[in-house]
């Protein structure tokens, strides 16, 4: 199960990278072309690639257009756009009521004042730690 998933994941990855590598001017790539580029080396059947591209279409990762009797596939968005979208999606999930898809850390929206306060807190800590770094931070200050 886990194995099968990984193989499928690798295949999707290879397919989308092939689509990303295609020239922007191209009107898309046929299943035959994807199969030649990605499938043949792996000993995969033409229909396997067809299924994978179909799945990826349903997931919204690729889009396709009729060209005569065949489909022409393109990546739905560039790698950069999809990366931004992925990070955005994480943020979005953490922002609203419907939150927590992944635990997100270190990131958030903040005002300049808050950032200033943050920096001075860091400066304070560095000043505290510099002379007494050996104490291991255990002593602290009185609360």
């Amino acid at each position: 199960m886990q194995k099968a998933r990984n193989i499928l994941g690798d295949l999707e990855r290879a397919v989308i990278e092939h689509l990303w590598a295609a020239p922007h001017t191209s009107s898309g790539v046929t299943v035959r072309e994807v199969h030649d580029a990605v499938g043949v080396d792996r000993g995969l059947a033409y229909t396997t690639l067809m299924t994978v591209l179909d799945r990826m279409t349903k997931k919204g990762l690729v889009s396709r257009q009729r060209d005569g009797r065949a489909w022409r596939y393109t990546a739905a968005s560039s790698r950069e756009a999809l990366t931004s979208e992925t990070m955005h999606h994480t943020l979005g999930e953490l922002a609203g009521d419907e939150r927590r898809g992944a635990l997100l850390h270190f990131l958030g929206s903040s005002s300049p004042e808050e950032v200033d306060e943050l920096r001075s807190a860091l400066a304070d800590l560095e000043a505290r730690q510099q002379p007494a770094d050996v104490s291991g931070g255990r002593s602290g200050r009185p609360a």
Partner: protein, 339 residues
């Protein structure tokens, strides 16, 4: 026991009423109060246990109120067999009403408490199911995307292939928990952090994953969504989230030291931001003010003037008492009945 039956019955219901009250207090004012006691955060582990204890105690109190009420009333009826206790509960209350001339004072808690138990149990199950599904679906989707997008770059030797690098300038790092877990960092993180700071980030994320902080957070999210909207406290959920971050920060401190950890926290907040990625308004769970609090909490120190160990011990004790309280009240309800 020559007490007047009416007096005795109202006394019987005291623990039941206390259970109901405890549930309400723990569900509403207590989370708000705890969220304001920011000084407790200096003992993050103990504080997190206290949060969990109060949530568990609230659920226990709400769920036990009905059994306590039913048992008390049935037990109060002379000649009722142990075996027929629960089964005859509903019928016996009506019967007892005539044969024992039970007053209204003696009767009302049973159906009310039963209703409360049913509603609480249903809401918890429903919320647990919904939150669980949502989380797992979102994580699966996100993990697939990350696996698709990750550029092979730095592989953390200790984590095999679980770390993924996204080609993005914003310094950010997070983990996707679950069975197929991932630590995700951006190119911006690798470019802008010094080696020990990156070590802090990775230690932080690894601490989340190994300590299954996601489960703690999931528990609180389930609780948060199980109560009616007007009772939900965003500050409470935020406090818990912050405590979890502090715990992971402490793991980073043990790994690379206080200063490197603090610098990593700042670097991740203050880095350059591409359009959109940080456009969300409101206070996210890890804003600059959160980061400042986390930096101030890196070193521990005294809690309300007490040494950290002592304070933690007291908080743990309070947590234990809190969880024991509903059980004790149930036993009290039974004890008064059978005496």
């Amino acid at each position: 026991m020559a007490a007047d039956p009416a007096d005795r019955r109202s006394a019987l219901n005291l623990p039941v009423a206390a259970l109901a009250l405890l549930a309400i207090v723990l569900a509403w004012p207590v989370p708000r109060g705890l969220a304001r006691l920011t000084r407790l955060r200096r003992a993050p582990r103990a504080s997190l246990v206290l949060w969990q204890a109060s949530a568990v105690a609230a659920v226990l109190a709400a769920l036990l109120a009905a059994p306590a009420a039913v048992l008390t009333i049935v037990e109060a009826r002379p000649g009722s067999g142990v075996g027929s206790r629960v089964g005859s509960a509903v019928g016996s209350t009506a019967e007892a009403g005539t044969s024992l001339t039970l007053g209204n004072v003696g009767l009302w808690p049973a159906p009310v408490a039963l209703l409360v138990t049913a509603v609480v149990a249903a809401r918890l199950l429903f919320s647990g199911d919904r939150v669980g599904r949502r989380l797992r679906a979102a994580r699966r989707r996100h993990r697939d995307l990350v696996d698709l997008l990750a550029v092979d770059g730095v592989n953390d030797p200790r984590e095999d292939d679980r770390m993924r690098v996204l080609e993005h300038a914003t310094p950010t790092a997070y983990c996707v928990p679950g069975l197929a877990r991932r630590v995700v960092v951006t190119r911006g993180t690798l470019d802008s952090l010094a080696a020990d700071e990156l070590g802090a980030v990775l230690a932080h994320e690894r601490a989340h994953l190994t300590a299954r902080h996601d489960l703690v957070l999931e528990f609180f999210t389930v609780m948060h969504e199980a109560v009616p909207r007007f009772m939900r406290s965003d500050q409470a959920l935020h406090s818990v989230t912050l405590l979890i971050e502090v715990l992971a920060d402490r793991a980073a401190v043990r790994s690379v030291g206080v200063v490197a950890t603090a610098r990593a926290i700042v670097a991740m907040v203050g880095g350059p931001r591409p359009e959109g990625a940080l456009g969300m308004s409101g206070s996210g769970p890890a804003s600059a003010s959160d980061a400042r609090q986390r930096i101030e909490l890196l070193e521990g120190g005294r809690v309300f003037g007490l040494p950290n160990v002592v304070a933690s011990g007291l908080i743990y004790t309070a947590s234990g008492l809190l969880v024991a309280a509903p059980v004790a009240l149930l036993l009290a309800a039974l004890a008064t009945t059978s005496s």
